[in-house]
Amino acid sequence: MKAEWWSCDDYAQSQKISRRGLLVGSSLALYTLALKQSALGQIALRTGKQKEGETVVIVFLRGGADGLNIVVPHGEDAYYKARPALAIARPNDASAHKEDRTLDLNGFFGLHPALAPLMPLYGEGQMAFIHAIGSMDESHSHFEAMYAMERGLASSAPGDASGWLARHLISSSVVNDSALRAVAIGGTMPDSLRGASNALALDSLDDFKLQGDAGFRAALDKLYANGGDPLTQAGRQTLKALDKIQTLPAGSASPYPQSDIGQGLRQVAQLIKSDVGLEVACLDKSGWDTHVTQGRGTGILASQLDDIAKGLAAFATDLGARMKHVTVVAQTEFGRRVHENDGFGTDHGHASVMLLLGGGTVPGVHTKWPGLNDDQLSGPGDLQVTTDYRNVLAEILAKRLQNKASTQVFPGLQPTFPGFTA
């Protein structure tokens, strides 16, 4: 196989964590206690300088996206044996319709045909796919797995209740007081930003308007001018964001899909182009829980992929040269069982795929491929996790957002940067 190898042993080691884990824990405790004792700790940390206007965009694919049918291991016979009804045809399979065939990436892996809009970006060296990636959570529960990932933990227990992005904002040495530093597109604050007092959740920029007149606004300004309680602080933050959002230039007219993710990406691009200090953006796309009739070249999974591929392609086109300063991550809580089930679908599995696009991305398919033969699977028949998702995210924070405090963002992790981001 031609896929790049990344020699990673910390998953295997984390399985037998015991003594080492305790040592990590103790040094962390001492470090953070020392920080807590002195306000100087804070000041000492606040010296870094971020690369100009860098933004990281996290797209969370909720429901467990089927990595094996997204980045298809078409060089694996075992894949075709395990999925007689669902496998995506080999790139050269003349018996399949051309539009149902895998789009070859490197002779071993290829993209689902619905991801065709991403092929030019891959060709330009803007994209990476990391396969057999995931957390150590083996619960097969969406909630547990999402809760672990959004908190930046190996698995759902034990751990900190705040989100990994919130801890990034707090531990970052970069000074960024923008009211739009961290934005979640969607109704609620995702768990990854929980605990960040300066994050903003909004449904849509167009709707982020106060429905009252100037007099009402002035009165709110007075009422929220002082007061240190969390809701009054949040109110001040919201008022600041309102001012910034009102003066945004109009969004791009470039052809984004009308879907939530398409419109969400359009708005993130609008914020980036407006230079409002956007550092972290979060978007969600749900609907990946394909237990039944997930389809092959067409069907449920294909239409999901079509939507996200068109959205990301439009995003890259819209931002043009600015993409050098924007890193998009698409992640999911877990992948799906290798063998298809009786309902032409797939059940909850373990490892899946992560997609990187834009600034700093080291292009290619990166994986320590665990194989798909039965004796190579984990749990009830899952693709093994060979890359800890936290190392990839820690590297992005360190290299793109200049936050080296990986152990604060990802408690318990001994970071090993895999070299997927420059």
Binding site: L22, G25, S26, S27, L28, A29, T32, L33, K36, Q42, S139, H142, F143, M146, Y147, S156, A157, P158, G159, D160, A161, S162, A166, R167, I170, G187, T188, M189, R194, G195, S197, A199, L200, A201, L202, L210, Q211, G212, D213, G215, F216, A219, L220, K222, L223, Y224, G227, G228, D229, P230, L231, T232, Q233, A234, G235, Q237, T238, Q408, P411, G412
Partner: protein, 468 residues
């Protein structure tokens, strides 16, 4: 101390947990405590505090009513929960299909419609219910035994669950709530006990039963206890056989693990069948850790903090009375401490319900209201995790604009299905809000120049009204 320090403390806590070699179970929720954050200065009138703490805030006239009755009599009335309900509530609830249909008929309705009716019912009860303490406890239990309506068939099963589990026992005895929840098809489906079978037990429900519902994470159980409880509960499932009453609780002996088990040091002999699970519920309900865990949560709910003396007192009342919630709550609710405890942040549901009550609104709690609450992040029955909506103020930092726009829509008469009429002046709201210490000073000069709906909206949108 700011958020940054708080989170640092959290990290330190995680490290210490690892250092001490605690079980992962014990550490899981060990780091969530926020040290005290600055709160708005409050010197609250006792009547306002009672209405805010026992229920979802006052309606015009309530302050005078509570003042005339006094704390003891008002608490007694609310603990009895025998107030005749507002006829509007009866009529509006009677119009909901989920309460008029029988058995699995409900599955003929669209899932979205079922969810919408469940959400409406929750809101209607909070807004119109005259037994406000009962409604607050209902909200408490809906979070304590949280079920996510969008997981598989949960929405259909929740219609029965809310009535049979929560509303039947909201102020009763905890062992009864627990037992009803454990036999609830909605819960068994939500926490995957329907896939808990002999040989390959699914631990999901067994774990949350101990961690969230009874003992608490520090309650002294081990991973082995989780596995043994899961074995006891094998076969507790939901009826799905042809010609049987679909969607009801069912014990399936064919998939039950018949061997003997040991739970928290007690042996459960082989061959107990469904009795194994019943025995587990019994052990858990009588456990002192359960008394402490529940007392701690109730203390946070009503006192806004974890007060060791009150937790001890309530735990003792639990153990002495067999988990009688009235016995646990009465001393706390009639105490001076309740009146002087720190303020609690209103979650969006609380904010919306108290706004509708303060303005004496006529509302169908229809799509417009449900949409507002959902946009603020607290759509009823829509929290995916089993731990219930967050209690911490900081989790709701994204809801401020939503609160202000709701206040403007409500006071400006722009909320479909809701009408506050001509008397919706600032007066009734100021009656509720103006009693809050400092609010008079703050709002007095600020509202000058605003028209009446705007002044009313500003009362609801003010920092003071976001706390209870």
């Amino acid at each position: 101390m700011d958020r940054r320090d708080v989170l640092k403390l959290g990290l330190a806590g995680a490290g210490i947990a690892a250092l001490g070699g605690c079980s992962p179970l014990a550490a899981r929720y060990a780091v969530q405590e926020d040290p005290a954050l600055p709160l708005p200065p409050r010197d609250v009138e006792p009547e306002v505090r009672l209405l805010n703490r026992l229920g979802f805030g006052g309606r015009p006239g309530d302050i005078a009513r509570v003042a005339a009755a006094g704390q003891g009599a008002f608490v007694a009335e609310q603990l009895a929960a025998e107030q005749k309900e507002d006829v509007r509530l009866d009529l509006l609830l009677a119009g909901l299909d989920i309460f008029s249909m029988k058995g699995d008929e409900i599955e003929d309705i669209h899932k979205e419609q079922v969810l919408f009716e469940l959400q409406r019912a929750d809101l209607l009860c909070a807004v119109y219910g005259r037994n406000q303490l009962f409604e607050r406890m209902t909200d408490f239990w809906l979070n304590h035994f949280n079920i996510y309506a969008l997981k598989t068939d949960s929405a259909f099963r929740l219609a029965g669950d809310t009535r049979k589990v929560v509303r039947a026992n909201a102020l009763g005895k905890f062992p009864d709530v627990l037992r009803a929840s454990a036999h609830s098809p909605a819960m068994l489906g939500y926490l995957d006990n329907t896939s808990n079978k002999s040989g390959v037990p699914n631990e999901n429900y067994a774990r949350e039963l101990m961690e969230l519902h009874t003992l608490g994470v520090h309650g002294g159980y081990t991973q082995r206890d989780v596995m043994e409880v899961a074995r006891c509960l094998t076969g507790w499932t939901v009826e799905d056989r042809f010609l049987h009453p679909r969607g009801q609780f069912r014990f399936n002996p064919d998939v039950h693990d018949a061997g003997s088990k040991e739970v928290l040091g007690q042996t459960i002999p082989a061959g107990g069948g469904q009795g194994d699970g019943e025995r587990v519920l019994d052990i858990l309900a009588k456990h002192p850790a359960t008394a402490k865990h529940l007392s701690t949560k109730l203390c946070r709910e009503f006192l806004g903090k974890e007060d060791p003396a009150w937790i001890d007192r309530m735990s003792s009342a639990y153990l002495a009375s067999g988990g009688d919630l009235r016995e646990m709550l009465r001393p706390l609710l009639t105490s001076q401490d309740l009146l002087t405890a720190p303020p609690i942040a209103k979650r969006p549901l609380d904010f919306v319900a108290s706004s509708l009550r303060a303005t004496n609104a006529n509302t169908d709690c229809g799509q417009a209201v449900v949409d507002h609450v959902t946009r603020m992040g607290q759509g009823p029955q829509l929290w995916p995790m089993p731990d219930g909506y967050p209690e911490k103020a900081a989790a709701w930092s994204g809801s401020m604009l939503g609160r202000w726009n709701f206040a403007l829509a409500l006071a400006g008469g722009k909320l479909a299905g809701t009408n506050i009429g001509m008397e919706a002046s600032r007066k009734p709201i100021e009656e509720i809000l103006g009693r809050h210490g400092g609010a008079d000073d703050l709002l007095g000069p600020t509202v000058n120049g605003l028209n009446t709906p705007e002044a009313a909206a500003l009362c609801l949108a003010s920092p003071e009204f976001q706390w209870r």
